[in-house]
């Protein structure tokens, strides 16, 4: 188990270094530097050069890289020019907001998806299961942003049972008592989080269905049936535990996709998390902020991925050998 964890941690560290280096390399491959873009006719070439050397842009690339890595490692992500504040301050607001959205969505989505997939496999071939299969295939085929736009149009704009944008009431939130503020966030949360949970459940249920179906061909299932176990016990006690390992491992691979889904959901519901922030940052050419969010997003995905692998290895010890 320890060897397995070490291998996972090494892989995660490698990914992180690769992503950090890639964002640095891209910043240097792109034309110009921060001072090249300043459109001030008053700024003389000499003055530009002085600014460049003051900020270290005249140093050799490898020196800049080392300094920059050091800054990143110590949590100094630089200055966000579009927000007019340090990148760290922007992240301090955005990361918790994304977690408030993602954690309930992932939990509900995965639980519901596993239940649905198991039910479909148990009723394989019947009309209800086929209808459910068509429904989940439709949902995984519809892009995240279309589902989110649909949810927004129907629930927030047409029926008006949810606020159309933001995370809190823009006027009254600060004057509310503590419980009122929580309820205010919850009333803004349920629609975007529900949308994400639905998308996750659809994807998870498809893997779960195939995994349970694959297991149902195994001989120990025949044995269970032969000794007279009820269909319910056969599925829940014998098939599901054996199908769960691969599903959790594949679930780990879903995290990058979920993150992308969160970007669109945040954009469409104007939820002030990392997704909305990075979209605005890209539009504002705020590279320092983009870089920091990409690295933070990668860290979050890696942590979630590694957690999924560890859980999978607990559920199914055979996967440990693969590491």
């Amino acid at each position: 188990m320890r060897g397995f964890l070490l291998a996972r941690a090494r892989q995660a560290a490698l990914v992180l270094v690769a992503v950090v280096s890639l964002t640095f390399a891209l910043a240097h491959a792109a034309p110009g530097d921060p001072f090249w873009a300043i459109e001030d006719p008053q700024l003389s070439t000499a003055e530009r050069d002085r600014l460049r050397s003051e900020w270290g842009y005249d140093l050799p690339v490898w020196k800049q890289y080392v300094t920059w890595l050091g800054n990143f490692a110590t949590g100094d992500f630089g200055w966000s020019h579009s927000r007019g504040q340090p990148v760290v301050a922007v992240l301090r607001d955005a990361v918790p907001n994304t977690l408030i959205l993602m954690v309930p969505a992932v939990l509900i989505g995965v639980l519901f998806g596993v239940a649905l997939g198991t039910w479909q496999a148990a009723r394989d071939g019947r009309a209800t299961a086929r209808a459910a299969d068509a429904a989940t295939l439709t949902f995984v085929s519809i892009p995240d942003f279309v589902v989110a736009l649909l949810a927004l149009s129907v629930f927030a704009l047409q029926w008006q049972v949810a606020p159309a944008s933001g995370m809190v009431d823009p006027v009254f939130h600060d004057s509310m008592p503590a419980l009122g503020r929580v309820l205010d966030v919850a009333s803004h949360l349920w629609l975007p989080a529900g949308t994400l949970a639905l998308l996750i459940a659809a994807a998870v249920s498809r893997y779960q269905r195939v995994a349970v179906l694959g297991v149902l061909h195994e001989l120990y299932i025949q044995t269970a049936r032969a000794k007279g176990a009820s269909e319910r016990i056969t599925i829940l006690r014998h098939a599901v535990p054996n199908a769960l390992g691969p599903v959790i491992a594949i679930g780990g691979l879903l995290f990058p996709t979920m993150f992308a889904g969160a970007v669109f959901v945040e954009k469409i519901f104007a939820w002030p998390g990392m997704g909305l922030t990075i979209v605005d940052a890209v539009a504002g050419r705020d590279y320092a902020l983009v870089q920091a969010i990409v690295v933070t997003g990668t860290v979050l995905v890696l942590v979630a991925n590694t957690a999924a692998d560890v859980i999978a290895s607990i559920v199914n010890p055979r996967t440990r050998l693969e590491a």
């Binding site: 891209l26 085929s141 590279y287 969010i293």
Partner: protein
């Protein structure tokens, strides 16, 4: 297993409409006939899908948008396919250290959200042309393909006829190209089909975020962005581009899944 006729016919209609765009569209997709009087018109006989906030005909824009979206999707999958097949085939056939290092790199690439990679590239290089999008989507799409190709190549390479080819003294590269890769092609085709089904929403999503092909060129995601901005005034600007994207992606997915199922022995009942 019977072929998914409805999906194939749907796809054919969409592709033919995109190819024949100048013939079947009643208006120029970029023309703004009367920005005051013809703005945000709801669907009518003259404008079956209505008009947008610049008085442009939405039907014409969606048909032309299909050209943009489909060609970017197709070409970028081709780029991803070329790189992914090469890397996967080399890793799977060579094995050993080359395999370990290549696949470690692929695992690394796969654990980063693709959208984030695309966003970094967009931030570094600014507004992208259609060709730029093809390259960016292709460069971020190959790792998944390479994994599938590698797994298949390893399986095929262990078969007796490959051993026979090697025993005859045929050079390794020739064995790989002439004897192993052709056997892998069905799976590659499935991967490519499903690849198209992931790239179409990605490209549309980028355009929806305002980061796709530059403004006057119509694309499905771009029209959807117009719809998001006009969401309180013009439902048709949301419904029709969404429908175009969804119908296309579902049709491609159905074809891809059906192909995959017909190739997957695990899903066949035991004999």
């Amino acid at each position: 297993m019977r072929p998914p006729r409805a999906a194939i016919v749907t796809l054919a209609v969409i592709v033919l409409a995109a190819l024949a765009a100048p013939v079947i569209t009643p208006y120029n997709p970029a023309a703004q006939p009367d920005i005051v009087a013809d703005k945000n018109l709801s669907p009518s006989r003259a404008h079956p899908f209505g008009t947008d906030q610049y008085s442009r005909d939405v039907f014409s824009r969606i048909v032309y948008g299909g050209r943009t979206s489909l060609s970017i999707a197709g070409l970028s999958v081709l780029v991803a396919l070329l790189i992914g097949t090469s890397v996967g085939a080399v890793a799977g056939y060579a094995g050993g250290r080359a395999d370990r290092w290549l696949m470690r790199g692929v695992d690394a690439a796969l654990s980063v959200p693709r959208l984030l990679l695309v966003l970094v590239l967009a931030a570094a290089f600014g507004q992208m042309s259609a060709a730029g999008l093809v390259i960016v989507l292709g460069l971020t799409g190959w790792p998944g393909m390479s994994r599938i190709v590698r797994a298949q190549v390893r399986e095929v390479a262990a078969l007796d006829y490959v051993l026979a080819a090697r025993a005859l003294g045929i050079p390794p590269l020739r064995v790989l190209l002439r004897h192993v890769l052709p056997a892998v092609m069905p799976q590659v085709l499935v991967a490519a089909t499903l690849g198209v089904a992931t790239v179409i929403p990605l490209e549309a999503g980028l355009s929806f975020l305002g980061l796709g092909v530059p403004a006057p060129v119509p694309s499905w995601g771009g029209i959807l962005l117009d719809g998001y901005e006009q969401r309180l005034r013009a439902w048709w600007l949301l419904v029709f581009p969404s429908a175009a994207i969804v119908v296309t992606v579902i049709a491609v997915n159905v074809v891809g899944e059906r192909l995959r199922e017909s190739l997957d022995p695990r899903l066949r009942p035991p004999v």
